[in-house]
Amino acid sequence: MNNTARKGGVGAAQIILGLSIAILVIVVAVPVLLIFVNAFWVDGALNVKDVIRIIREKDTYQALVNSLIIAAGTTTGSTIVGTFFAWLVTRTDLPYKRFMKAMFLVPFMLPSFIGALAWKMLLSPRAGFINRFWMGTLGFEEPLFNIYSYAGIVLVEIMYLFPFVFIQVCGALERMDPTLEESARISGAGLFTITRKITIPLALPSILSGALLIMLYSMAHFGTVAVLGIENGIFNIPTLIYQRIHQSAGSFASIRTGTVLASILVMAAALIIWLQGKALSRGRYQIIAGKSFRPMELKLRALRLPLLILCLVYIAFTIVLPTVVIFLVGGLKTYGLPFTWENLSLDNYKFILFDYQVTRDAIWNSLSLGLGAALITMFAGVMISYVIVKMKVRGKGVLEFLGMLPFSVPGSVIALGVILAWSGRYGPNLYNTVWIILVAYIARYMAFSLKANSAALEQVHDSLVEAARACGASMWQALKDIVLPLVRPGMLAAFFLIFLPSLRELTVSIMLYSPTTRTIGVAIYTLNEDGETVRSAALAGIALFLIITGQTLINRFAKGRSA
């Protein structure tokens, strides 16, 4: 339909396609390509020996192993926790299920490095509040739990990542046709057998897909490991890349190590994304209906109360407690003082918001970066999605491939690639400016925008555009009058999907910040590193407040629309 080019000329379709390809190439493909080139191509020749040598270095090897250990632990734990809770809130007669479901999704919006910060305050071996209570008041010799350990890192990551599995499995269990289970029941199978033989196998693709998502996220995850691991020398791939480049101020050797590690991350991510696609396509025919049914509910009987208490304790312990601790510590005069009314005030919050240059800059930077990145990525995303979903034009395959890239490139890889691409070697030097962070944010959040916008575009039937063309509208007029108004909700969704997470972004910003271009995430992290715990906590509190308020407004808005 859009092939309006006359012979020999360049039509609107070609211009849009070219522009879309250019954006993805410049923002995503070139940085990733530069990483591979820097890793494998030395002095104009392929050099695999050096790559192997770097991998076999003790520190890099250990970081690889650590990433694997942490990712494996986090994935296993989150899958068990997520599946169990998903089953509880969809398939049993647990009380207050709606409330529970909403609460289990809260960790989605909480930044995990702020969570890690809270747990550090609670469970660091000597200074943590719980450990001090354990040893001081209860008189034990040893601290209850040392958060600066593999177990600590894995547990904190589980708390914040399990919703990925939870939400997928909830969806699968809600959509599952109950007649599948009922027919098993009629054939004489007990509930335990049904769950084992019917329910779990049917939900397996969703479980797998959620688990792979967590593995991808955890392997490339910076915040939690940075906050909890460095104390005991536990580094994973992203934290090692950061540490090397940060310490050496960008020396050749450190960049080299970084690119090798980043290449490994990209390849692992691509493998995971591929596996996830397989798992999901297998699930497509198994869970037949898109409609929702009223699923069969298991009577918990005597277990009802204990399981309710378990859920409430879990929520109190993993969501309420850390959040409260952040706000309380943010109010303390000095870190270490007990929580009494005399020691608590709003002074830190006031100082951070109005008087302290560093944090004021950080808040301003994050807001403007988030706004800029969200706007640009939203518009670029809608254009690219339009070509991929709607247009029939030669060369689209290239764009489809490029469109997959943002999904499989972790944040720390983007940061490193952006450093390589924008440090003046190939044109403008943006290093140490706020622009390099903006470019990196656009690359990092492009995937969100593509997802939201292509979902919205798929709802816009081709015939709506064709009807406009037949009414005498040119392609541009049809886009402006028909397509844009109809995808506006998707664009809005993309905007907030980018704006809110960018307010708390750490992984990318930490690699790219300069003294004047700190973001909220960087400021929280560096204040904490410098021992300014109360100010770090106060800023974290403000960030949490911004994020939760924003999310609540959006949810309200979204509900209002769908009602």
Binding site: M1, N3, T4, R6, K7, G8, H461, S463, L464, E466, A467, A468, R469, A470, C471, G472, A473, S474, M475, Q477, D481, I482, P485, L486
Partner: protein, 363 residues
């Protein structure tokens, strides 16, 4: 003058051929229907005419001037072809009110505000939607949405309208009502209509002329509704136009015998000189009696369908369907049960040679 001339058009997707060397012309002021089974490529042809798709070769002319001709490098985009198009799924824009939908073509034509409103209201009234101008499509029924689509296609006063199965998604009563309205509008406005459907009832009711397309995208017959119904060119057309009995017939000496038995066909004889023929008739063209002259058979199934009785009768191994009105059956003592013997006679029989009978066009 609004005419369509399609000459030697070929179109395919990948390795799948949809049309090869297709020729068709639509005359000024007529309602021309393209009728064929689903998947035969009739919608593709409409999209080629509208300019949503490009032919690989051949040419399409509208009003005598070429709009698609790859050999000459001509490809006029759909917005410059001056057409009205109505889609199967209505394609009414959900974010605009009825009036905004209908006025959109005028807005694009940069009409004065007053004129725009007047003509849009006129078009809304013409399709019987007066009073609903401010509604959003989500507040309309399917039939009402289709009326909006019709008004939108008509409002700019195109001389040529393309309709792609516009009634398929409506319920039976509405479908019947709308098809008369479309016909009425076409006659009143004197426009040329190119209508695509798989529903032979609509096609017969609405068309001045129609073309029957088979499953491979070949045109089998072009003619008036009566022509097509009464004088089908081949077995495919006959079969496609309604429930049909096909009776294999063989020549023995000067006689024509049914199936493998030895009963003679009671009426007519073929023009050709072949040995094997197929005889076709509609269930309503068969007269059934308890005894008397005609083909002897046995009732295998008797179904009471309300106003009609439907019998399945076996004659020497050949199954035929026979339909008659129930009151006639009762009056004439023709209420048979399964297993009853009977005699069949025919109003009319169509003779097809057996070669053409096997070519069902993939339908």
């Amino acid at each position: 003058m609004a005419t369509i001339d399609i000459q030697g058009v070929s179109k395919g997707y990948g390795s799948r051929r949809v049309h090869a060397d297709l020729n068709l012309s639509v005359q000024h002021g007529e309602c021309f229907t393209l009728l064929g089974p689903s998947g035969c490529g009739k919608t593709v042809l409409l999209r080629l005419v509208a300019g949503f798709e490009q032919p690989e070769s051949g040419s399409i002319r509208i009003n005598g001037s070429p709009v698609s001709d790859p050999a000459a490098g001509i490809n006029i985009p759909p917005d410059q072809r001056d057409l009205g198009v109505v889609f199967q799924d209505y394609a009414v824009w959900p974010h605009m009110t009825v009036l905004e939908n209908v006025a959109y073509p005028l807005k694009l034509a940069k009409k004065q505000r007053r004129e725009m409103e007047e003509r849009a209201l006129e078009a809304v009234a013409m399709v019987g939607m007066k009073g609903l101008e401010k509604r959003l499509p989500s507040e309309l029924s399917g039939g009402q949405q289709q009326r909006v689509a019709l008004a939108r296609a008509l409002v700019a006063g195109p001389s040529l309208m393309l309709l792609d199965e516009p009634l398929t998604n409506l319920d039976a009563n509405l479908r019947e009502e709308m098809r008369f309205e479309i016909k009425e509008l076409q006659r009143k406005l004197g426009i040329t209509v190119f209508y695509v459907t798989h529903d032979q009832e609509i096609a017969l009711a609405i068309s001045d002329r129609l073309a029957i397309m088979d499953g491979q995208g070949r045109v089998r017959q072009i003619g008036s509704p009566q022509d097509i119904f009464e004088r089908p060119a081949d077995v495919f057309v006959f079969n496609f136009m309604g429930i049909a009995n096909f009776i294999p017939v063989r020549r023995v000496g000067d006689d024509w015998l049914v199936g493998q038995g030895d009963q003679r066909v009671p009426v007519g004889r073929p023009d050709g000189a072949g040995e094997l023929y197929t005889v076709g008739c509609r269930p309503s063209d068969v007269r059934i009696a308890a005894s008397g002259p005609g083909l002897r058979g046995v009732v295998r199934r008797a179904s009471f369908l309300g106003a009609m009785m439907d019998y399945q009768v076996e004659v020497d191994g050949v199954i035929m369907r026979v339909a008659l009105e129930t009151h006639e059956a009762i009056a004439g003592g023709l209420m048979f049960k399964a297993g009853d013997p009977c005699a069949l006679n025919f109003h009319d029989l169509l003779w097809f040679d057996s070669v053409s009978a096997e070519d069902t066009g993939g339908a």
